[in-house]
Amino acid sequence: MKNNLRIQRAIKNITQAELAELISVSRQTINTIESGKYVPSTVLALKIAKVFAAPLETIFELDEND
């Protein structure tokens, strides 16, 4: 699964740590999601979408391996 979390963060101008705090996970979790190493649960993905006030599909996208 691909995501453009880094870009979304840049637009909203918040750091990984700030985003992590908003959705109550650790900063490492945000980091591994951004680098594509970890696929978040639906609940966490929805929480992230809520922070950016954007539909889920604009942040997360299926890639050819899924």
Partner: protein, 148 residues
């Protein structure tokens, strides 16, 4: 997502203290044949098969303490327990079950008789110990990639 099997983080320290104390105590009991005098519930009617000392509960308590300590370490939350830590935890459990049975299969073919019984007693701790090592290795790896 809530993982209901876990106990609060503050128990982790208690687990380590229990484990290290009782591990040392177990080793001491094992190699110096230490027994708390009179610490037993059952007395054999005749002692021609098992010596009366076989009924002393010192080594049982030492073993119980070690296992309880390890269990508490395994099942207490991390300070920042979230779903990523949870997935590392699950991965470590899968690893430890697999490692435990690989070790067990090797043991079945390499020990027999009373030696096998003794080795099995130690083997019962393998799963918990491998879990702890694999889990903390996972967290260590996570922190290391994070720093890059």
């Amino acid at each position: 997502m809530k993982n209901n099997f876990l106990i609060p983080n503050k128990f982790k320290l208690l687990g380590w203290i229990l484990f290290s104390t009782f591990l040392l105590f177990s080793i001491y009991c094992q190699y110096f044949d230490f027994e708390i005098p009179g610490f037993q519930l059952y007395y054999p009617a005749d002692d021609n098969f098992i010596s009366p000392s076989g009924y002393n509960l010192t080594n049982e308590v030492a073993y119980l303490g070690t296992i309880l300590g390890l269990l508490i370490i395994c099942f207490s939350r991390e300070k920042n327990e979230d779903e990523l830590i949870n997935s590392i935890r699950l991965n470590a459990f899968q690893w430890s079950v697999l490692a435990n049975y690989i070790v067990l299969i090797i043991l079945i073919f390499s020990f027999y008789g009373l030696g096998f019984v003794f080795i099995m007693a130690y083997n019962s701790l393998t799963m918990l110990i491998v879990f702890i090592m694999r889990f903390y290795y996972g967290i260590f790896k996570l922190n290391r990639t994070d720093e890059k």
